[in-house]
Subunit: 335 residues, 2 copies
DNA sequence: TTAATGTTTGCATTCGAAGTCATTATTACG
DNA sequence: CGTAATAATGACTTCGAATGCAAACATTAA
């Protein structure tokens, strides 16, 4: 009969007529215990409903088995998939996700204090802006950090990132097949590092393609901002030939706005490309030409790098770049 | 100068010339410490980079400050919003989210063992199927559980749920304005409790509305399944007048399939309603008439109920039902 | 049978903060 | 100024599992 109150290893030990150490050893893999003791302990443990207390174990082993995952609200629409992948893959390596969400920049110090407090084995930051002094803080405590989808040139940071440059190059190559004259780049918000990177790359590559007429607009990654930006632009300007959106969601907004309020047809009047390859980008009504991020591979890489650095704290920082897949939709005019 | 190795309360105590208890008291709110000691301790603590070890604190106080959130992969598309709300609201109450994702039914026992092991203060289950013996398990350990969007009639469980019945009634009322003859109910998967509930309610209410011709189809909540189900149906049957979809995503699939492959116009040929009020349901191309779940309120309620039961383990189980808002889109024919 | 080796086992200690309790310092007040 | 009341403090114990160490036991070789 299982009791209501917490059962400890001592209780089991007493009941089974062995020492507490014996009980502990039974529940630690690979330790020397005779089959007889093992069976006896397991039997009484099951009977009493005993489970080792992870907290006590953490304290003595100095390994919490928890990884802090920081998610910024700025995070991409595909973050649920990322998060669920992270959780799954960490679980496979016997680690749990301790979730920290981050909306305002206020309380950021507090947040980082919290994370340190919890003695996590490592940190994965999803699209969160990480100043280098924060990285240093974790470094000092020997807590490895992996930045997901962040290219930090300066830093000694571990990063796992989709190859934005290569992806955007492919997208522009698609667009260029029609020799568009007027380009619009619809960037994500200025305080998003990914957005800034994608925008700058687009600008750079367009220059390389010898495109003259490029205008930049700033949205906030949302559907509505896609609509609003296009609407505002068209108030005072002619329609562009091609629009490069920093993510799919804004591309969808752009398409809806063009069709609904301006009688512009996609792709015949305007070609639109997105980025990310979110589920809805493939929906019939949009069929966006975009770059699909290799989420599963990215996460696998992130987890690998993190675990490598947990096990071997002195291994040098690593930056992994994975290439996404060009999805040829129906939002770019065929030549 | 902060040292590289972990700084404990003893280190700070020694340095500040006080006892370890004093340090502990400084970092616990509301305990009796003189201003002088407090300042002294705070100063040296900051200087040494000391932060209390949450793990040690958990062990002695028997409060982990962590809430297990179980997310099933079956979970709705709006779960990222739910999850981020949960995290935010728990953070406001000084609790953290320990995330457990659940894909296959395998390893479910293992998962629950894990959760118990971590000594979480409570559990929130998002759309996860929870057999009553599992509930009993947590009950035995006095760990309160809140089921999010689950109506468990039998159970002594805490539940927070959107009012499906009232919502679906409103949707049917909308549809009935055109007196449709043939209804199709596109249900979610049979192993989802929410899906089953929504389907059964729809069937029951249609009967109440004296509708004769109702057929049931089963999808898996996905866009593609919406398309496939409609396509398969139309192979051998005439188009229905109205389709009640168990979620918005399938409704979107249905709409795309109807338009693309069958030259059916929404809403003139078929009226379609969804459920959830996900972001994309409001997009120009779909504008689905649906019920928007009051996610923020639901989460607030869930967190409230959970904390109430953490603080007062003997309070009776609570079932909160919140009503969603009818969104009148453009997917139902106007009379 | 004994020595030598390997395997199990229990004792005692450890992890780091919190809380109990008795003691000392401080304040309030007659 | 003395005494009661209160505030502040430190010594010591606690939470529950893991582990170094030495003793006990089992196994093999000689």
């Amino acid at each position: 009969m299982a009791k209501n109150k917490k059962v400890t290893s001592y209780d089991v030990a007493r009941e089974a007529g062995v020492s507490q150490s014996a009980v502990s050893r039974v529940f630690r893999p690979g330790l020397s215990v005779s089959q007889k003791t093992r069976d006896k302990v397991m039997a009484t443990a099951n009977e009493m409903g005993y489970r080792p207390n992870a907290i006590a174990r953490m304290l003595i082993t100095k390994q919490s088995g928890m990884v802090a995952v920081i998610v910024s609200s700025r995070a991409n629409v595909n973050y649920p998939e990322v998060l669920s992948q992270v959780s799954k893959q960490l679980a496979a390596r016997n680690k749990r996700v301790l979730l920290f969400t981050l909306d305002d920049v206020e309380g950021l110090d507090e947040l980082f204090e919290q994370i340190l407090t919890f003695q996590v084995d490592g940190v994965i930051a999803l699209a969160a802006h990480f100043e280098s002094h924060r990285l240093a803080q974790f470094e000092k405590h020997e807590i490895p950090v992996v930045l997901y989808n962040r290219n930090v040139s300066d830093a000694m940071a571990n990063t796992v990132c989709c190859n934005h440059e290569q992806g955007i190059k492919q997208l522009i190559a698609e667009l260029e097949k029609n020799n568009p004259k007027k380009y619009l780049v619809l960037s994500g918000p200025k305080d998003s590092d990914v957005a800034n990177e994608r925008r700058e790359i687009a600008i750079k590559l367009l220059k390389q393609f010898a495109v003259k007429d490029v205008s930049i607009l700033y949205g906030d990654y949302s559907y509505q901002s896609g609509r609003d930006c296009l609407a505002k632009w068209l108030q005072h300007n002619p329609a562009p030939d091609a629009i490069i959106c920093s993510n799919d969601t804004m591309a969808i907004g752009v398409i809806d706005e063009a069709r609904e309020n301006h009688e512009l047809h996609i792709p015949n009047d305007i070609s639109v490309v997105g980025f990310d390859g979110i589920t809805s980008s493939a929906w019939q009504s949009y069929q966006i030409t975009t770059i699909k991020q290799p989420v599963e591979k990215l996460v696998k890489a992130a987890v690998e790098v993190l675990l490598e650095h947990i096990e071997n704290p002195d291994s040098p920082p690593e930056a992994r770049v994975l290439t996404g897949a060009l999805i040829k939709g129906n939002s770019v005019k065929r030549p």
